[in-house]
Amino acid sequence: MTYVVLEACIKCKYMDCVEVCPVDCFYAGENMLVIHPEECIDCGVCEPECPVDAIVPDSDARCTPDWVKLNDQYSRVWPNITYKGTPPSDADQWDGVEGKLAEFSPNPHRE
Protein backbone atom coordinates (compact mmCIF):
# COMPACT_ATOMS: atom_id res chain seq x y z
CA MET A 1 0.00 0.00 0.00
CA THR A 2 2.95 2.29 0.44
CA TYR A 3 6.62 2.78 -0.11
CA VAL A 4 8.80 3.21 2.96
CA VAL A 5 12.06 5.08 3.58
CA LEU A 6 14.68 2.99 5.36
CA GLU A 7 17.82 3.59 7.42
CA ALA A 8 19.98 4.25 4.35
CA CYS A 9 18.43 7.72 4.09
CA ILE A 10 19.70 8.84 7.50
CA LYS A 11 22.36 11.55 7.15
CA CYS A 12 22.35 11.11 3.35
CA LYS A 13 18.99 12.79 2.67
CA TYR A 14 19.63 13.55 -0.99
CA MET A 15 15.95 14.46 -1.57
CA ASP A 16 15.84 13.52 -5.27
CA CYS A 17 12.70 11.53 -4.47
CA VAL A 18 10.62 14.54 -3.52
CA GLU A 19 10.90 16.10 -6.95
CA VAL A 20 9.49 13.11 -8.79
CA CYS A 21 6.77 12.17 -6.30
CA PRO A 22 3.47 13.04 -8.01
CA VAL A 23 1.54 13.21 -4.76
CA ASP A 24 3.97 15.12 -2.53
CA CYS A 25 3.93 12.47 0.18
CA PHE A 26 7.45 13.02 1.55
CA TYR A 27 8.00 14.61 4.95
CA ALA A 28 11.34 15.90 6.13
CA GLY A 29 13.19 15.47 9.36
CA GLU A 30 16.53 16.99 10.27
CA ASN A 31 18.52 14.14 8.73
CA MET A 32 16.01 11.83 7.05
CA LEU A 33 12.86 11.80 4.94
CA VAL A 34 9.79 9.62 5.44
CA ILE A 35 6.73 8.74 3.34
CA HIS A 36 3.19 9.31 4.53
CA PRO A 37 1.57 5.86 4.22
CA GLU A 38 -1.89 7.23 3.54
CA GLU A 39 -0.78 9.64 0.84
CA CYS A 40 1.57 7.36 -1.11
CA ILE A 41 -0.20 5.80 -4.09
CA ASP A 42 2.42 3.14 -4.81
CA CYS A 43 3.36 4.53 -8.21
CA GLY A 44 6.96 3.45 -7.69
CA VAL A 45 8.54 6.53 -9.23
CA CYS A 46 10.67 7.41 -6.20
CA GLU A 47 12.29 4.01 -5.70
CA PRO A 48 14.88 4.11 -8.51
CA GLU A 49 15.45 7.80 -7.94
CA CYS A 50 17.12 7.35 -4.53
CA PRO A 51 20.91 7.35 -4.93
CA VAL A 52 21.33 5.20 -1.80
CA ASP A 53 18.45 2.75 -2.40
CA ALA A 54 16.70 3.82 0.77
CA ILE A 55 13.14 3.50 -0.60
CA VAL A 56 11.36 0.14 -0.85
CA PRO A 57 7.76 -1.07 -1.12
CA ASP A 58 6.31 -2.21 2.20
CA SER A 59 6.21 -5.72 0.79
CA ASP A 60 10.02 -5.78 0.64
CA ALA A 61 11.78 -8.00 3.19
CA ARG A 62 14.01 -5.08 4.28
CA CYS A 63 10.96 -3.13 5.31
CA THR A 64 10.48 -4.27 8.90
CA PRO A 65 7.53 -3.13 11.03
CA ASP A 66 9.81 -0.66 12.83
CA TRP A 67 10.42 1.23 9.59
CA VAL A 68 6.75 1.21 8.67
CA LYS A 69 6.03 2.64 12.09
CA LEU A 70 8.76 5.27 11.90
CA ASN A 71 7.52 6.50 8.52
CA ASP A 72 3.95 6.60 9.74
CA GLN A 73 4.82 8.37 12.99
CA TYR A 74 7.09 11.09 11.64
CA SER A 75 5.11 11.80 8.47
CA ARG A 76 2.44 13.11 10.80
CA VAL A 77 4.71 15.58 12.59
CA TRP A 78 7.46 16.63 10.19
CA PRO A 79 6.87 19.26 7.47
CA ASN A 80 5.92 18.26 3.95
CA ILE A 81 8.74 18.62 1.44
CA THR A 82 8.11 19.08 -2.28
CA TYR A 83 11.35 20.49 -3.66
CA LYS A 84 14.86 19.22 -3.26
CA GLY A 85 16.94 21.25 -0.86
CA THR A 86 20.68 21.04 -0.29
CA PRO A 87 21.80 17.60 0.94
CA PRO A 88 24.09 17.43 3.99
CA SER A 89 27.65 18.39 3.07
CA ASP A 90 28.93 15.03 4.35
CA ALA A 91 26.11 12.98 2.75
CA ASP A 92 28.50 10.98 0.57
CA GLN A 93 30.48 9.84 3.61
CA TRP A 94 27.37 8.30 5.15
CA ASP A 95 26.37 6.38 2.03
CA GLY A 96 26.32 2.69 2.88
CA VAL A 97 27.33 3.11 6.53
CA GLU A 98 25.71 0.49 8.78
CA GLY A 99 23.86 1.21 11.98
CA LYS A 100 22.80 4.73 11.11
CA LEU A 101 19.63 4.46 13.17
CA ALA A 102 21.78 5.62 16.11
CA GLU A 103 22.22 8.91 14.22
CA PHE A 104 18.48 9.40 13.60
CA SER A 105 17.14 12.79 14.61
CA PRO A 106 13.46 13.15 15.54
CA ASN A 107 13.70 16.90 14.91
CA PRO A 108 11.96 18.44 11.90
CA HIS A 109 13.75 19.62 8.77
CA ARG A 110 15.06 23.15 8.79
CA GLU A 111 16.54 25.13 5.96
Binding site: P22, I41, D42, C43, V45, D66, D72, T82
Partner: protein, 143 residues
Amino acid sequence: MSQTEPLRPRIGPGVHVGVTEPMIREVVHAFYSRVRADEALGPIFEREIEGEWDAHLAKLCDFWSSVLLMTGRFKGTPMVVHARLTEIGGDHFARWLGLFRQTAEELCPPPAAALFVARSQMIAQSLQLGIAVSRGEVPEFSP
Protein backbone atom coordinates in the same frame (compact mmCIF):
# COMPACT_ATOMS: atom_id res chain seq x y z
CA MET B 1 11.37 25.92 0.70
CA SER B 2 11.30 26.97 -2.92
CA GLN B 3 12.34 25.45 -6.20
CA THR B 4 15.76 26.84 -6.94
CA GLU B 5 16.59 25.07 -10.15
CA PRO B 6 14.62 23.34 -12.89
CA LEU B 7 13.97 19.65 -12.54
CA ARG B 8 16.89 17.79 -14.01
CA PRO B 9 16.04 15.48 -16.90
CA ARG B 10 15.31 11.93 -15.81
CA ILE B 11 14.80 8.71 -17.67
CA GLY B 12 11.49 7.28 -16.52
CA PRO B 13 10.56 3.61 -16.67
CA GLY B 14 8.44 4.24 -19.76
CA VAL B 15 11.34 5.41 -21.89
CA HIS B 16 12.80 1.93 -22.21
CA VAL B 17 9.52 0.46 -23.42
CA GLY B 18 8.73 3.23 -25.89
CA VAL B 19 6.21 5.29 -23.93
CA THR B 20 6.00 8.84 -25.31
CA GLU B 21 3.99 11.94 -24.46
CA PRO B 22 1.77 11.50 -27.56
CA MET B 23 1.15 7.87 -26.56
CA ILE B 24 0.14 8.93 -23.05
CA ARG B 25 -2.21 11.52 -24.49
CA GLU B 26 -3.79 8.98 -26.81
CA VAL B 27 -4.29 6.43 -24.03
CA VAL B 28 -5.69 8.98 -21.58
CA HIS B 29 -8.13 10.49 -24.05
CA ALA B 30 -9.32 7.13 -25.40
CA PHE B 31 -9.63 5.70 -21.91
CA TYR B 32 -11.78 8.52 -20.58
CA SER B 33 -14.03 8.32 -23.63
CA ARG B 34 -14.73 4.74 -22.60
CA VAL B 35 -15.15 5.70 -18.96
CA ARG B 36 -17.76 8.29 -19.90
CA ALA B 37 -19.66 5.69 -21.88
CA ASP B 38 -19.53 3.10 -19.08
CA GLU B 39 -22.84 2.66 -17.31
CA ALA B 40 -21.31 2.34 -13.84
CA LEU B 41 -18.34 4.71 -14.07
CA GLY B 42 -19.78 7.29 -16.44
CA PRO B 43 -22.31 8.92 -14.09
CA ILE B 44 -19.77 9.23 -11.27
CA PHE B 45 -17.15 10.86 -13.47
CA GLU B 46 -19.68 13.12 -15.19
CA ARG B 47 -20.87 14.36 -11.82
CA GLU B 48 -17.36 14.89 -10.42
CA ILE B 49 -15.70 16.34 -13.51
CA GLU B 50 -18.73 18.28 -14.74
CA GLY B 51 -17.72 20.96 -17.21
CA GLU B 52 -14.01 20.47 -16.59
CA TRP B 53 -13.14 17.57 -18.82
CA ASP B 54 -10.40 19.40 -20.72
CA ALA B 55 -8.63 20.25 -17.48
CA HIS B 56 -9.15 16.72 -16.14
CA LEU B 57 -7.68 15.11 -19.25
CA ALA B 58 -4.70 17.47 -19.15
CA LYS B 59 -4.20 16.64 -15.48
CA LEU B 60 -4.26 12.90 -16.16
CA CYS B 61 -1.78 13.30 -19.01
CA ASP B 62 0.47 15.09 -16.53
CA PHE B 63 -0.08 12.32 -14.00
CA TRP B 64 0.91 9.51 -16.35
CA SER B 65 3.80 11.57 -17.66
CA SER B 66 5.06 11.90 -14.09
CA VAL B 67 4.63 8.20 -13.37
CA LEU B 68 6.03 6.76 -16.61
CA LEU B 69 8.42 9.45 -17.83
CA MET B 70 9.34 11.02 -14.47
CA THR B 71 8.69 14.54 -15.67
CA GLY B 72 7.43 15.73 -12.30
CA ARG B 73 4.58 17.59 -14.01
CA PHE B 74 1.77 16.31 -11.83
CA LYS B 75 1.37 17.40 -8.24
CA GLY B 76 -1.86 16.45 -6.57
CA THR B 77 -3.64 14.52 -3.84
CA PRO B 78 -5.52 11.69 -5.53
CA MET B 79 -5.94 9.78 -2.27
CA VAL B 80 -7.96 12.60 -0.72
CA VAL B 81 -10.04 13.09 -3.86
CA HIS B 82 -10.96 9.40 -4.12
CA ALA B 83 -11.52 8.87 -0.41
CA ARG B 84 -14.39 11.35 -0.34
CA LEU B 85 -16.30 9.41 -3.02
CA THR B 86 -18.41 7.33 -0.70
CA GLU B 87 -20.16 5.22 -3.31
CA ILE B 88 -17.14 3.72 -5.05
CA GLY B 89 -16.12 0.16 -4.32
CA GLY B 90 -14.19 -2.79 -5.63
CA ASP B 91 -16.46 -3.28 -8.63
CA HIS B 92 -15.80 0.27 -9.80
CA PHE B 93 -12.06 -0.23 -9.55
CA ALA B 94 -12.32 -3.53 -11.44
CA ARG B 95 -14.25 -1.88 -14.29
CA TRP B 96 -11.82 1.03 -14.36
CA LEU B 97 -8.85 -1.33 -14.52
CA GLY B 98 -10.49 -3.49 -17.19
CA LEU B 99 -11.14 -0.50 -19.46
CA PHE B 100 -7.67 0.85 -18.83
CA ARG B 101 -6.04 -2.45 -19.75
CA GLN B 102 -8.19 -2.78 -22.86
CA THR B 103 -7.26 0.75 -23.97
CA ALA B 104 -3.55 0.38 -23.29
CA GLU B 105 -3.36 -2.98 -25.04
CA GLU B 106 -5.15 -1.65 -28.10
CA LEU B 107 -3.06 1.49 -28.45
CA CYS B 108 0.42 0.61 -27.22
CA PRO B 109 3.09 -1.93 -28.10
CA PRO B 110 2.93 -4.85 -25.63
CA PRO B 111 5.83 -3.78 -23.35
CA ALA B 112 4.43 -0.26 -23.00
CA ALA B 113 0.92 -1.58 -22.41
CA ALA B 114 2.27 -3.93 -19.74
CA LEU B 115 3.89 -1.02 -17.91
CA PHE B 116 0.70 1.09 -18.08
CA VAL B 117 -1.30 -1.85 -16.74
CA ALA B 118 1.17 -2.78 -13.98
CA ARG B 119 1.31 0.78 -12.64
CA SER B 120 -2.45 1.22 -12.90
CA GLN B 121 -2.96 -1.91 -10.83
CA MET B 122 -0.50 -0.83 -8.11
CA ILE B 123 -2.03 2.61 -7.89
CA ALA B 124 -5.60 1.31 -7.88
CA GLN B 125 -4.80 -1.16 -5.13
CA SER B 126 -3.21 1.62 -3.11
CA LEU B 127 -6.19 3.93 -3.59
CA GLN B 128 -8.59 1.16 -2.60
CA LEU B 129 -6.66 0.46 0.57
CA GLY B 130 -6.44 4.18 1.33
CA ILE B 131 -10.19 4.51 0.90
CA ALA B 132 -10.77 1.54 3.19
CA VAL B 133 -8.52 3.08 5.83
CA SER B 134 -10.31 6.41 5.58
CA ARG B 135 -13.63 4.62 6.07
CA GLY B 136 -12.28 2.86 9.13
CA GLU B 137 -12.65 -0.52 7.44
CA VAL B 138 -9.04 -1.57 8.06
CA PRO B 139 -6.42 -0.51 10.61
CA GLU B 140 -4.26 2.43 9.52
CA PHE B 141 -1.34 0.10 9.15
CA SER B 142 -0.55 -3.33 10.48
CA PRO B 143 3.16 -3.90 10.97
